[in-house]
Amino acid sequence: MEAFTKFKSIGIPIDIANCDTDAIVPARLLRQPRSHPDYDKFLFHDLRFNADGSEKPDFIFNKAPYRDGKIIVADVNWGCGSSRENAVYVLVANGIRAVIAPSIADIHYNNCMKHGVLPVILSREDCDTLRKHMHEAPGEEIEVDLEKQTVTALNGTTFKFDIGPFDKHRMLNGVDDIGMTLRFDDDISAFEKDRRDYAWM
């Protein structure tokens, strides 16, 4: 997994409350392999494209300079709904490295952690401020610093965010989960041998 330390990019405001993973990538596209030549186009597919494949010009991701953005600033309950990890694959396919939102659905949060996409929780007021600013100053860059746990935007205004020490370590070092867990193999075996309440299983 690609490590995340510090990252700076144009911010893309997505003003959709409860933006679900069906909106991030429709179910009918889940059968396609990540090697598909148009995989990047699957992100927000039905919000971005008409049935004939032409772009919907009003959708923010189709507008310059936002289409070059690599940090999403979202609204409440980003990534709710289906557990599909494809909703992170399509972010990765577009080079998106961080999603900032007032709340991120639990399963999607964990899925982001597996692919070096940093989920950042800021208050609803701060996210509203950021999105408003990005509409008013298109192309404004945002910097996310994981070591310091800060988001910097709006001419140097800094917002602090929380992240668990385990997740922070994993992201900073690009740790592969399975490789790490296999080092606990003896603990798992010991656990399996001593399950007094579960002898009936």
């Binding site: 003003d15 959709i16 409350a17 409860n18 679900d20 069906d22 909106a23 429709p26 179910a27 009918r28 889940l30 059968r31 039905d46 049935a51 609204d75 409440v76 309950n77 709710c80 709904g81 289906s82 557990s83 599909r84 990890e85 992170v88 709340s103 659905a105 639990d106 399963i107 999607h108 964990n110 899925n111 597996k114 692919h115 509203d128 668990g164 020490p165 385990f166 997740d167 370590h169 989960d177 399975i178 867990t181 296999l182 606990f184 193999d185 603990d187 798992i188 656990f191 399996e192 399950r195 309440d197 579960y198 002898a199 009936w200 299983m201």
Partner: protein, 467 residues
Amino acid sequence: MAGQTLFEKIWNRHVVTEKHGQTLLYIDRHLLHDGSFGAFERLRENSLKVRRPDQTFATPDHYTPTHTASLDDLADPRAKEIASAIKGNCEEFGITVFPWGDRRQGIAHVVGPEQGITLPGLTMVCGDSHTSTHGALGCIAFGIGSSEVTHVLATQTLWQRRPKTMRINIDGKLGFGVTGKDVIIAIIRQIGAAGGTGYAIEYAGSAIRDLSMEGRLTICNMTIEAGSRCGMVAPDDKTIAYIKGRPFAPGGEKWDAAEKFWRSLPSDDDAVFDTEVHVDGSAIAPMVTWGNSPQDAVQVTERLPDPDQEGDTDRKAAMVAAYEYMGLKPGTPVSEIPVDKVFIGACTNARIEDLRAAAAVAKGRKAKVPTLVVPGSGLVKAQAEAEGLDKIFIEAGFEWRLQGCSMCVGMNGDTLKPGERSASTSNRNFRGRQGPDSRTHLVSPAMAAAAAVNGHFTDVRSMMEDA
């Protein structure tokens, strides 16, 4: 010391180790479905083995057809490939599989409880968000992503943050014609689509105790639509009677030990939850969702809400956008909303009790719009046919289909056309969920059948024989 919650009693017994605030949690049972194909690819790429094939079970459901017994008839050859691949993948790794053609095959969340794979006190995962369903039997069950599926296959564990606990107490007697579906939609309307984020929820109170296992499964199923990955109900006599004799449930002396353990699991009287919510069960009526989030819901007797009455500006904007997408106007009585298609099925409502409820309304009436009835498993289908429900549906002009996820998510080709409006017993009314530009309204099976025979939403209580 305060007592323990149901959740804590199970969680604490599955801690392998703890590091930096996260728990390496042992997983007792893992369900796979056809959409899990990527995990097998990653196992092979990394030369990994399945640690506990004996604790892993699989069934195809998302991509399987409902109109034909032959996978060759699927319009998309890739769907056929995915629906069939699970058999070979599972055989290669020694995993128990109920493949297409096996009468036990069906929706993973219907098959687990039906086979006795789902049991109280377990930890259970599946690469599908509706894994919350299984918690109705008193276990910790939650949905995971594909990387986590691979992780569980390789290690039988997961690194997890321990969620906070919430108890939702539904007291009072549910009214005539009010089902588990109506209860959970009413709860989501009350706490919001992100109300449960970061929590494991226990449903308690007299209304839950009075509900059937099917009703509890429906409530736990839609826990994820309230933002929580994990919903649970404490095991009681109903749970234990439901499990007894199921193929993968313990038998003989093991049964006695299991039952004794299961009866020790309910939350202690002095257990403390991080949050408590109270819901008046007697005030719930049949529910209909109108927007693109399950929290956008009203009682069938109400009119659609007015965004101008909404104080929160973001919420107001979301309502306006939902009205535009759904092609509806504020103030419209729910009973004046016409439907184009009806779907009765999905892991929410495709169990035998759901089909009985729909058949009771369909009996002696005729569908005004195309209506699909899709049982949750081959065994549910067989049971329904043994009871003659299939004949009632066919007589009423409903289509009696084969088991699977079907039009809940449309991955097998069962979809709405752009602009079409459904009454659906599934769990998500998201934009495009049932096909591009589809418009979904979530309802109970009886309410769906009522919409089918009237061509518009109807308070089904007026069509039911009062007991």
